[in-house]
């Protein structure tokens, strides 16, 4: 805090050449809302060059979020979590930018997990209510 000048400016930024911020991505945080895995990224809308007073607007770019898969398969609990209610669906749809593209993968993972269990000798009975909740259709039954 000692480095801040009386006018509130940090000389390490305001008296040095170069752009601020150097990298437009300043933070990546992740969280979970019900079954949904969400990553939040802060991207600078501008870059500023304090010594010259030049200001640059981010006009175009592609934000790429890279990740690795979990080292273990989904547990029974996680699979059940995919069956969770749709309480947060609207909120997630509003909060995130790729809901339409990603939501089917959640449904697909659930169905794949059910199929895998069926192959292991489990008897899976999927009721209409659950099938409808998963597929979004109104009148269908699923037998695995």
């Amino acid at each position: 805090m000692d480095r801040i000048r009386s006018d509130g400016k940090d000389p390490a930024i305001y008296e040095q050449e170069g752009l601020f911020p150097k990298d437009p991505v300043v933070g990546v945080t992740s969280g979970k809302l019900r079954q949904w895995q969400i990553v939040e990224v802060a991207v600078a809308a501008f870059q500023y060059e304090p010594l010259t007073g030049r200001l640059y607007r981010l006009a175009k770019g592609k934000l790429v979020v890279s990740f690795r898969p979990k080292s273990t398969l989904l547990t029974g609990g996680e699979t059940q979590a995919l069956l969770a209610d749709g309480v947060a669906d609207d909120q997630v749809k509003r909060l995130t930018v790729n809901y339409a593209a990603m939501a089917p993968r959640y449904r697909g993972t659930l169905l794949a997990a059910q199929a895998a269990r069926a192959r292991q000798g489990y008897a899976i009975v999927t009721t209409n209510a659950i099938a409808n909740a998963v597929s979004g259709s109104s009148a269908s039954s699923t037998t695995l």
């Binding site: 991207v43 592609k62 898969p69």
Partner: protein
């Protein structure tokens, strides 16, 4: 002689293991992408001579004393099999356009003080929606 062979074998094994880890590490990486910007953040000169930014989804995340640049908050869904702890982000193919003129950007005030200002973001104690 035997020691030399072991030494060479050890190096080869280590190199092979490293290659295996690298190949395995890159082969399983996945990504999701989003085109930017999500919204056009406006900028004008305020009455006090400092730049004045506008945007409905921006936050001010700089540290105290740093230029108060607005940040867009982008929330993306990861697939269910993803490990969120491994997520990293970058803006590729980015293009910045210079805004005409010379600009003065206000320094980010100390936390707490920022709470009483319009445009206070999560840095100033705002809740994280996650």
């Amino acid at each position: 002689m035997t020691a030399i062979r072991f030494k060479h074998f050890g190096r080869a094994a280590a190199a092979g293991l490293l290659m295996l880890l690298l190949v395995r590490g890159t082969a399983h990486a996945e990504e999701v992408s989003v085109m930017l910007p999500l919204e056009r953040v406006t900028v004008s000169v305020g009455d006090d001579g400092f730049a004045k930014f506008g945007g409905s989804e921006v936050q001010y995340l700089s540290d105290t004393g740093e230029p108060a640049i607005p940040y867009m908050i982008v929330r993306t869904l990861l697939p269910p099999e993803a490990d969120p702890a491994t997520a990293v982000a970058a803006v590729k193919n980015r293009r910045f356009e210079e805004q005409p003129g010379t600009w003065q950007i206000r320094p980010t005030p100390q936390r707490g003080y920022e709470n009483s200002r319009q445009g206070a973001g999560r840095l100033a104690g705002g809740p994280n929606p996650l």
